[in-house]
Amino acid sequence: MEVKGNNKGTLKRISGPVVTAVGLNAHMYDVVRVGNEQLMGEVIKIQRDNTIIQVYEDTSGIRPGEPVENTGLSLAVELGPGLLTSIYDGIQRPLEVLMEKMGDFIERGVTAPGLSHEKKWDFVPTKQSGDRVGPGTIIGEVQETNIMHRILVPPNVNPGTIKEIKKGSFTVEETVCVLEDGTELQMMHKWPVRVPRPVTEKKNPDIPLITGQRILDGLFPIAKGGTAAIPGPFGSGKTVTQQALAKWSDAEIVVYIGCGERGNEMTEVLTEFPELEDPKTGKPLMERTVLIANTSNMPVAAREASVYTGITIAEYFRDMGYDVSLMADSTSRWAEAMREISSRLEEMPGEEGYPAYLAARLSEFYERAGRVEALNGKSGSVTVIGAVSPPGGDFSEPVTQNTLRIVKVFWALDAKLSQRRHFPAINWLDSYSLYLDTLHDWYDENVSPDWNIVRSWAMEVLQKEAELQEIVQLVGSDALPDEEQVTIEVARMLREIFLQQNAFDPVDTFCDMQKQYDILKTIRIFADLAYGAQKVGVPTAQVISIKAKNDLPQIKFTKDYKADLEKIVANMEAEFKALREA
């Protein structure tokens, strides 16, 4: 695979982020250094003697005639201790280091490795000399944060026998293990971002990723290793939902990609996460998090790379046997970056100017999600949740449509809901999860034997309400038959109490499965009592205005809610009893 011929050429044309070089011997996706300042770029097209390169940094001032050098390597990330708590740009340059090197603004031409090459980590071997190892084998451990970082044999190393393995404090570049054939292993290895890391087997995702968000866990759950899309117009709640998932989902590692979005949103994560605790471990959330930030005003070519950088890091932790969840906000900006580069290449545009390979790229990306048996036999997963930002909020556009063809869960954000501050503004009629069947048993066993029954009941009520609302719009609610007026009230409770969840309330932001079940079940109890009372002749107006249920919304904001909830149920029963007897 070494580069033959000339690995140096000259620039011929510069047109924004796309430049053309001549006289360069290059292969597709080789990383090249462009111009006197050696800006990083990647080969994206070869046309006779012309090599077309996308540049990851601003190209202002670069002139024809400047040199271009081929490194002969692919765009790769550094994988090893030091990833957690980091914030990177799209090509894994640590933003903290960039700030030290060039100040508050991101200037170009600065290189910085993804991992610190100076820092020492305590390496504890889990294998000894004479042991057989192969691709993906865990040879040792490093306590990185509260997360144990397992050191893997790179997937592309031949199997062999350990000749020597060390214990102690090393940098990521120092050799910690030598095989009989002379292969030296370090704690860090590099992996090309555009190549999925190999696994032994993909398994069926049948455990839910518990997110603490009622509408997600309750109505439209996603499995660990599954894929979901959150499309929605601007301001409808994609980022807030993604951040809630990054905070509260029961993944062990979180990779959060801010792709073409706001700088302040990344800063918010940086300030907030270190202060928040993982509800499961009690440790700061930041310790399990890796951030990738290519904000909307950073170079577009690096935006295109950012999703690959993120998913490769996610796969790496998966290979250690962790459940990883990856949020990409927003995949539309990635698609637009592809469109922009493609149009500079003067490629034949497909739908709405997107390149013809849009669908293929999207599916290749989501295909990297999954629950797997890693090469070392461990089981791990990458769950991928992508935000989609359709122009004008119109879901019929190509990025949304192509994404929906691939993902298994669809959380449809709805501007009508967000405008009235119904949050999360996820439309319960349009959304779906194709994991309901595979997760059915898990909920039965782990939440309650009647969970699935109550859940289906709630969905039916909500659907029924939608039909009834159409009638109400024509004749007013008083004209509905008594029973249906109760249904309308029950549906209102489901919407306002169960579905609405305030991401900014310290208690309501996260709701465990037990509490989700308790709330849902209480609404069900109310419904049963209400229909029952109505049957024996209690007037509807009285049925739907019993006092006890007014306390129910407060349960959401109460941490130790059990006693209060029992009281509400008891009061409800007493009130209904009195009504029936009157």
Binding site: I14, D58, L95, R262, G263, T267, T271, E336, P391, G476
Partner: protein
Amino acid sequence: MKEYRTITQVAGPLLFVEKTEPIGYGELVNIVQSDGTMKRGQVLDTSDEVVVVQVFEDTRGIGRDSGIRFTGETIKMPVGRDMLGRILSGGGKPKDGGPDIVAEKRIDVIGAAINPYARSSPDQFIQTGISTIDATNTLVRGQKLPIFSGSGLPHNEIALQIARQAKVPGSDEEFAVVFAAMGITKEEENQFMADFERTGALEHAVVFLNLADDPAVERIITPRLALTTAEYLAFELGYHVLVILTDMTNYCEALRQIGAAREEVPGRRGYPGYMYTDLASIYERAGIIKGKKGSVTQLSILTMPGDDITHPIPDLSGYITEGQIVVNRELHRKGIYPPINVLPSLSRLMNLGIGEGYTREDHKKVSDQLYAGYAEGNDLRGLVAIVGKDALSERDRLFLEFADLFENRFVRQGHDEDRSIQESLDLGWELLSTLPEEQLVRIDRDLIHKYHPKYRKAAKQEA
């Protein structure tokens, strides 16, 4: 400096120049016409065969006999502290008869991105004195919050009222204003300038004017000059800067014009596919930097073509900015000022700057409840139009009346009425108290007991 006379083609705002030495991408270009007039442009594409130059001024008078001088550097702007109080053209040249700016520094106008690691989260409440902003769509220092309006609506009045009244309670630092006009009319210019003069705002303002009859392509650099100035004032001199950019719609039209001249494949409705990225390079230039004293707050104005919020200009803007204030024609017709429709309006940074220790503990919940009540009442209006008021339940009638009250008491206020945040929130409570208490499901019980007028009165009577 070498002068070329090798223009081979002039197309719209673009010049194609051949047989040059190697020219840098993005370089500033001077074009010398045969009558000696000098114009400026920028390199959009460069190769050893042809260089494409975008001219920032009218191309009238440019021909194959015009001379081209490549300056060898990207566009830089001279900045200095004596800029405050000055009126400059959309291209940055003095327009007030005063001397040239004394350059303490020359800064590249294409601002580099602020490293997210260097940013600090904006969380300082700015009181604008307008209830629909302060109580329900709070602005904070360092935010970018545009006004989405329509032609003929009073967005300028609103922007001016904000500029006049904006303050951070408990701080006496005044905002420096950077005002950039792109393609606005002479009347609009007069309206802004008269107000700035009347209030004395001009002394701590820098004004950039590109009017409707100035060259459209100049508008491409006007906001960048303004933001370069703002960043200098904020991050080097420590000012809190309020940037007003108007009208971003004219900016986008200029962008479209250049795209068309380059024969690019157009994106949605003829606007360039890279408009999102381009707009982001403007809107993202706001915020606060750790360890620096100043801040850049952006209040841009755009008129939505056909009042359509899904039009690419408001749509792409909304995807970048941190919320939007939406001005509504129907409210305007009803004679309500400021005709701000809170439903599609949003401030995303609101949560960071409100609540206990910032504004008041009940702020968020009151706001949510006002929204929910107004949304519900507003929906019922549609129903009433069909079935009449009588078919409504008692509950629905109350919500319907709430919506009217909300518009007439909460939204409506005077051009010079400067409400404190306490006044705005109390007004909110007053309106909410017309609804049955058990309908206030968005508010915690203890806040109701503390702030609901009913309990407050009771508490007063007891005391």
